[in-house]
């Protein structure tokens, strides 16, 4: 296989060929190549199509700023769209395809859009596609959507994994070029804990692309030596292939480490790690990015940034062409000519827009000073350039340098604004960088390497000293001084030829002009109107150029024109990396109840409730529908005994001499005088008077209470109580701690519940109705001395208890209860049966305590004490909350008991209407919050809220569910459907 552009040398291993596929063609590169360098070695210049006009595009850069060479890499589920070939390390079997074209890359059918480009000027969308009205969504938009977009997602779940990590350092150094390495050395020598991160898979930055000598060594060798020195130090962490993508508050930085190599070798290993780096100080040494110049047809494959030409030449041993021209407005461009010449590549012309003396002589090259390139020819690869002096020069590559822009993005992540530097013709960081960040080297605008090294060296040591470390006394590395002079050149008059500014989004100098003409004068307006800088490169090569053009159009300064907002991420980050491990079942942690193992064995169906997995019902063999199981569980519990794991309810242990007073202030009802050994139901409000939570609280001894909360609100109620204690009444002697997990708690409900429990409660404890009446609570022992707590409380309306043991016995207790219960045909019941029974009893739960209902709305106005202050008292008295026509909770039962029986759904969610009213918002009287099929009543029943409901019992209305198409006449009734007098629970 031939790599016709490959020359000798470079920082690659030419002994190790690596084969890969591009657009179906098997090609070869070498170990150490990027995909881009390998393509260029094989003379593949045309690698993609632009976004809007599908213009042929070649590789423009050699870094993460690449706008053109973005492709789909990998196949099947591993396919990754929009991957920059310039930063993709070549590996064996790499499979790449160009994207955004229909038909072969060379003959993209969609390229016809380029012929219509006069029509498709900036902002054309907003002026057209409106006629006829319906056509936008039916015809135009689908067409636009299909031609837009870039690469294609595989539409398969990402097969790779990702991880997250946390690292701490004194000093984070971003960028391991000459400046960053110099800073790292002095910072590390001082003893500070240093992290040095670089986005490249090889450290050294541009030293690897240039021919500078440092301390007498080739720059790349000096870099290797320095990295080796750093890696030997315990206080230094080197992170290669790691892009610091964002600066966040208080010295937190986000960084993505690419571990593709490891993940390809072992599918279980994460592909990327999302590091959160906590820093005390940061030194940004991110270097600079070269920009282009806007001249006619400056977008052809073969036109590259001059620095990229050097990178391919020096680092990757690729001569991108055989007859190369250079077009520059600064000294740096000349280096390209020199390096090419030194490697024996034919340089045909050097064109410099500045009217100065030539920077150097390069044998064989024609030199044109004060001259511009005004046009180019060659559809799929450049063939010639036309100069402003009228000359045409045949060339197969044009290296362009419009000057360098500091990579100051991270300095602006806290909304800092860079300032214009006329001498350097670019924006440089202002003093508004994030707190703790300093900047060194070319990122700061220090363009001369020798100066940048000194700056890095000094800052590494100064920042360490600020943190209290001893300054290093070593000398900075030395390198010859090479001047950088520039004279801004933004766009060149190019007649009818389009001069491209944003290569990926196809924004031309004319588009910018048109936007300005139409009143879009703010740089943000221009961006939004033309899409300039909104492509995958976020305008890294385009934006400053565009600002220059805008400033010229509007005859204002660069400073007045300003930049758009710099936002994270510095380079695009895979969504999977941000998610880390959190996907599938690991999206949230899971909580298992003490009876989980046992329940799973009974084939229980589980439901997620606030991370807990609770048994929803326990199907028995032969039961084919969940309703059969639930109906059976309800009937069996009501006729004999059922057992339900209620461990998930929040349990808060309260100790202290002021606990009863504290409870009195957080519940609506009185708690000051609850006797020891008794439980009381309590309703808690938010300060705005709305119900927050409810539960029971038992007084186990004078200064010891245990409270229960709902499962869903366990955490927020505890937080609320801590607020009340710490912020409102800090001197109350109250000590609270969650004991939710300390005790496994089971409800044992049904007429046989006492009999069942008597078999395990140790005989010295009398739990007869007389000794242990409804709402009693006590500490007992079971099964021969195992400590337990027993509460005679009931959610089902049956004679019922809740028994709690240390969680270590939780699984065992469930098994014992079932074993003991065999003689009563005891059954386990799940949350569905629990829900049915509570609706039958008219107990409010989550759907009723939905944060929109007051104690009065819930029919608990009678509980509200008027004699004490408590949270929610005052605001609960507001006029609208006391109105008679508020939505009040009542029961609803169908007039025709058979309604909905065959529908498979309940009344829940239906809205309430008068019998002859139309379904309109004005006529809406309320809604059904909870509805179940009641096996005891033989029909659906519901709890719900209706205007003035508490005074409307007996009235008939309609429960209308337009969503599912039902309209049921229901009677407003008491919510206590079953055993309204509560006789069953007191026996």
């Amino acid at each position: 296989m031939s790599q016709i552009n490959r020359i000798d040398g470079g920082l690659i291993d030419q002994e190790k060929p690596v084969s890969f596929t591009f657009n179906g063609q098997l090609l070869q590169g070498y170990e150490g190549d990027t995909l881009a360098s390998a393509l260029l070695a094989n003379n593949k210049h045309l690698v993609g199509r632009s976004f809007k006009y599908h213009r042929p595009r070649g590789i423009l850069t050699a870094g993460s700023e690449e706008p053109n060479a973005i492709m789909e890499v990998g196949s099947g589920a591993y396919k990754e769209p929009n991957t920059r070939a310039t930063v993709t390390k070549l590996y064996k079997g790499l499979y790449a395809k160009s994207q955004n074209h229909r038909g072969p890359l060379e003959f993209d059918f969609m390229a016809v859009t380029d012929f219509f480009s006069p029509l498709l000027s900036a902002g054309f969308y907003y002026k057209t596609f409106m006629w006829p009205k319906a056509f936008w969504e039916k015809v135009y938009e689908p067409a636009i959507r299909n031609s837009a977009g870039l690469g294609t997602l595989s539409k398969e779940a990402d097969p790779d994994t990702y991880d997250k990590g946390f690292r701490y350092c004194d000093i984070l150094i971003i960028g391991a070029g000459a400046t960053g390495l110099s800073a790292a050395i002095t910072a590390a020598q001082s003893g500070a804990k240093v992290i040095l991160a670089d986005e490249d898979f090889v450290m050294g930055g541009r030293l690897n692309s240039e021919t500078n000598e440092i301390d007498g060594l080739p720059g790349s060798e000096w870099a290797i030596k320095t990295v080796a020195k750093l890696s030997a130090m315990d206080n230094v962490t080197l992170m290669t292939d790691t892009t610091v993508f964002g600066a966040y508050d208080h010295g937190i930085y986000g960084a993505i480490e690419n571990r593709d190599v490891e993940a390809r070798a072992d599918k279980d290993k994460p592909r990327q790690v999302n590091w959160r780096i906590y820093t005390k100080r940061t030194i940004l040494c991110a270097g600079a990015t070269e920009r282009s110049i806007a001249f006619g047809n400056n977008d052809r494959p073969g036109i590259m940034l001059a620095s990229a030409v050097r990178t391919y030449l020096n680092r990757f041993a690729v001569s991108v062409g055989q007859r190369v021209s250079v077009y520059t407005n600064n000294d740096d461009g000349w280096k390209t000519a020199k390096d090419l010449f030194n490697k024996g590549v034919n340089v045909v012309a050097i064109v410099d827009s500045r009217s100065i003396e030539p920077v150097m002589r390069v044998a064989g090259a024609q030199i044109f000073m004060g001259t511009d390139v005004v046009g180019t020819k060659g559809r799929r690869a450049i063939k010639s350039i036309k100069l402003s002096n009228g000359k045409t020069i045949e060339t197969d590559t044009l290296a362009v340098s419009g000057g360098w822009n500091p990579n100051l993005h991270l300095t602006c992540h806290h909304r800092g604004v860079p300032k214009w530097n006329e001498e350097l013709a670019t924006f440089v960081p202002d003093s508004s960088a994030p707190v703790g960040m300093s900047i060194a080297g070319r990122a700061k605008g220090t363009m001369v390497l020798a100066d940048a090294i000194v700056e890095g060296h000094n800052q590494g040591s100064a920042v360490a000293a600020e943190l209290g470390y001893k300054a290093s006394n070593s000398d900075p590395a030395s390198t010859p001084i090479v001047a950088y002079n520039i004279s801004a050149q933004w766009s060149v008059p190019s007649g009818n030829n389009r001069a491209w500014v944003d290569f990926q989004n196809d924004v031309t100098a004319k588009d910018i002009k048109l936007a300005n003409q139409e009143g879009f004068r703010s740089v943000e307006h221009v961006k939004r109107y033309t899409t300039l800088g909104m492509a995958t490169d976020q305008g890294k090569t385009a934006n400053v150029l565009a600002i220059g053009i805008m400033a010229e159009n509007m005859e204002q300064t660069m400073e007045e024109t300003g930049t758009t907002i710099f936002r994270p991420p510095y380079a695009p980050v895979a969504m999977g990396a941000f998610a880390g491990r959190r996907r599938g079942m690991e999206f949230y942690p899971t909580r298992y109840t003490p009876s989980h193992k046992w329940s799973a064995k009974q084939d229980a169906i589980f439901v997620e409730v606030g991370m807990w997995y609770r048994s929803q019902w326990f199907p028995k063999p032969g039961e084919t529908h969940w309703r059969q199981s639930v109906d059976r569980e309800v009937k069996q519990t009501r006729s004999s005994v059922g057992i339900c794991d209620v461990t998930t309810l929040g349990k808060i242990d309260l100790k202290g001499i002021d606990v009863s007073e504290f409870l009195n202030r957080i519940y609506v009802n009185a708690f000051a005088k609850v006797p020891v050994g008794k439980t009381r139901y309590g309703l808690m409000l938010r300060e705005d008077g709305m119900a927050m939570d409810d539960g029971t609280t038992a007084r186990l001894s004078e200064n010891h209470f245990v409270m229960t909360t709902t499962t869903a609100n366990a955490v927020s109620v505890y937080r609320h109580m801590q607020f009340c204690h710490q912020c409102l009444w800090p001197d109350l002697d109250v000590h609270m701690i969650s004991v939710t997990e300390q005790y496994a708690q089971y409800a044992v409900a049904g007429p046989n519940s006492r009999k069942l429990l008597q078999k395990i409660v140790d005989p010295e404890y009398d739990i007869s109705n007389e000794a242990f009446a409804f709402m009693a609570a006590g500490e007992i022992t079971v099964c021969g001395g195992i400590p337990a707590r027993l509460f005679r409380i009931s959610f089902s309306g049956e004679l019922a208890y809740e028994i709690a043991v240390l969680t270590r016995y939780g699984d065992s207790l469930m098994r014992v209860l079932m074993e003991v219960g065999e003689e009563f045909d005891a059954i386990p019941y799940g949350t569905e049966a629990l829900g049915v029974m509570r609706v039958e009893k008219g107990h409010a739960a989550g759907p009723e305590l939905n944060g929109q209902t007051s104690a009065y709305d819930l029919g608990m106005g009678g509980m509200v004490s008027g004699k004490k202050d408590f949270i929610g008292y005052t605001l609960g008295l507001r006029e609208d909350l006391q109105r008679d026509d508020r939505l009040q909770m009542v029961g609803f039962k169908p007039v025709n008991k058979n309604d909905l029986i065959d529908k498979g759904y309940s009344l829940a969610g239906a809205h309430l209407l008068g019998l002859r009213d139309d379904a309109t918002t004005e006529n809406d009287q309320g809604w059904i919050s909870s509805s179940v099929y009641s096996p005891m009543l033989g029909c659906y029943i519901g709890l719900g809220f209706i205007k003035g409901g508490q005074n409307r019992k007996g009235e008939c209305v309609r429960a209308v569910d337009l969503v599912r198409g039902s309209d049921v006449e229901v009677e407003i009734c008491s919510p206590h459907f079953f055993d309204p007098e509560g006789e069953r629970l007191r026996v």
Binding site: N82, W136, E137, A148, H413, E524, A574, R686
Partner: protein
């Protein structure tokens, strides 16, 4: 004064003549010495829409819109572009439905293509309790003629085979869809209203920060600005996230806190989804723009702030929500994340009201949902400014509602703005 009407003919003509005939989309005006009938403070979507409807519906054209920076630089320029009218409570639903109807006719009304795209919005349901709540909501929507559709799990899967239906932490049991919901090209809304208002005579004044109000005897007589004092018979403040700062200049404290809402977009991708998908349980919602980027977001950043930028925890939470529900996005790269300052009210619902200062009006408290409300907010605010009466769909949006106990708390989380 009037701008050229956009037409197919005009577009073609300009294409052939080098686009030399396009005029500014709106006039950049300077303040008039003799003042205005109405000054709107804030050149965002709501302010521009208000000016447009004042002129169009009420014939009040001596109007200025004052914008601190460039028009559309607030939340209308940095949202996730979603429109919907799928609200629950009677105080809200008819208002948002009016907004939806205005969206549906926006382009013809403005002669400006804001790319209103009713591609549908879908809220995923994961358990029975959620289903009940969404059925309640769906019925509220149908009662208001907003349209709603319940989808079984199999229907959801058919539309989006790539959703993680069964293996996810939150298996998908169905969805509530509003087919009329969708997206709009957000910036174009500001430009379209600006153009429409400007054509009707409204002055749009950029780079004109309001630094104070001229109040005499409890009556607002105009504003102080970076460009000098400007007289007005009536002033309407409409500054979203800056509400607190602006109203503080007249000593009015509000039931509002400013918070940051982050939003995200990926690199451009060929079409994968045409709906808006909302995964409430995972704090994630997503649509795909016409350019191909997946545009998504989640919860607000919890703390009060005026800095238009967020922090990492929400970024990671939102992306994990995406991965949890549609693991095909793992290799889609997040291109840009940004933050907008949202005016979170104490019950999650907005205000369109007069204030204790005569001739000074207030519009705000839009929380993270102001974009979809833009047309109706402008429509109803213009109605109030022109007639002194609340529009019938905005009667609940009063500043004194907390004093009365008439909260419009869609989520039922109470007086904690960051939970709404």
């Amino acid at each position: 004064m009037s701008n050229t009407r956009y037409s197919a003919f005009k577009v073609l003509k300009e294409a052939l003549t080098g686009h030399k005939g396009w005029e500014p989309v709106w006039r950049d005006a300077e303040p008039k010495a003799d003042g205005y009938d109405v000054i709107i403070v804030g050149g965002g979507g709501h302010g521009l829409a208000t000016a447009y409807y004042l002129a169009k519906n009420h014939g009040i054209t001596n109007v200025a819109v004052l914008e601190r920076g460039w028009i559309g630089s607030g939340n209308v320029g940095r949202n996730t572009t979603i429109i919907r009218s799928n609200y629950l409570l009677p105080g809200n639903e008819p208002f948002y439905e009016l907004s939806m109807q205005l969206w549906e006719n926006l382009e013809q009304d403005l002669n400006y293509n804001a790319m209103v795209s009713q591609r549908g919005i879908m809220n995923l349901i994961h358990n029975d309790a959620q289903r009940d709540a969404f059925i309640r909501r769906g019925n509220a929507m149908l009662f208001a003629d907003a349209g709603a559709e319940y989808l079984e799990a199999k229907d959801v899967k058919e539309r989006y085979p790539f959703l993680d239906m069964d293996n996810a932490r939150f298996p998908i049991k169905g969805a509530l869809a509003q087919p009329r919901g969708g997206t709009v090209r957000h910036d174009a809304v500001a430009w379209g209203y600006a153009r429409g208002a400007s054509d009707l005579g409204v002055d749009i004044i950029q780079n004109c920060e309001v630094t104070g109000f001229n109040i005499e005897n409890g009556v607002c007589l105009g504003v102080k600005t970076a460009k000098g004092d400007i007289k007005a018979n009536r002033v309407g403040v409409c500054v979203a996230g800056s509400s607190g700062r602006v109203m503080a200049k007249v000593g009015i404290k509000l039931p509002i806190e400013s918070h940051v809402l982050q939003a995200f977009v990926t690199e451009g991708l060929k079409p994968v989804m045409d709906n808006v998908i909302t995964f409430g349980a995972g704090h994630f919602y997503c649509s795909q723009s016409d350019k191909g980027g997946l545009v998504f977001g989640g919860d607000i950043d919890a703390y009060n702030t005026y800095a238009q930028r967020g922090n990492l925890p929400v970024v990671e939470d939102v992306c994990s929500g995406g991965m949890a529900i549609m693991p095909i996005v793992g290799r889609a790269r997040l291109l840009r994340m940004w933050g907008g300052i949202v005016d979170m009210s104490m019950d999650g619902s907005p205000f369109i009201d007069s204030t204790e200062i005569e001739e000074l009006f207030f519009n705000g408290g839009w929380c993270y949902g102001g974009f979809k409300a833009t047309p109706a907010s402008g429509y109803c605010y213009a109605h109030l400014l022109a007639t002194d009466e609340s529009h019938e769909v905005a009667t609940a949006y009063r500043l004194d509602r907390f004093r009365r106990g008439a909260m419009i708390d869609e989520k039922g989380v109470g007086a904690q703005p960051n939970l709404h």
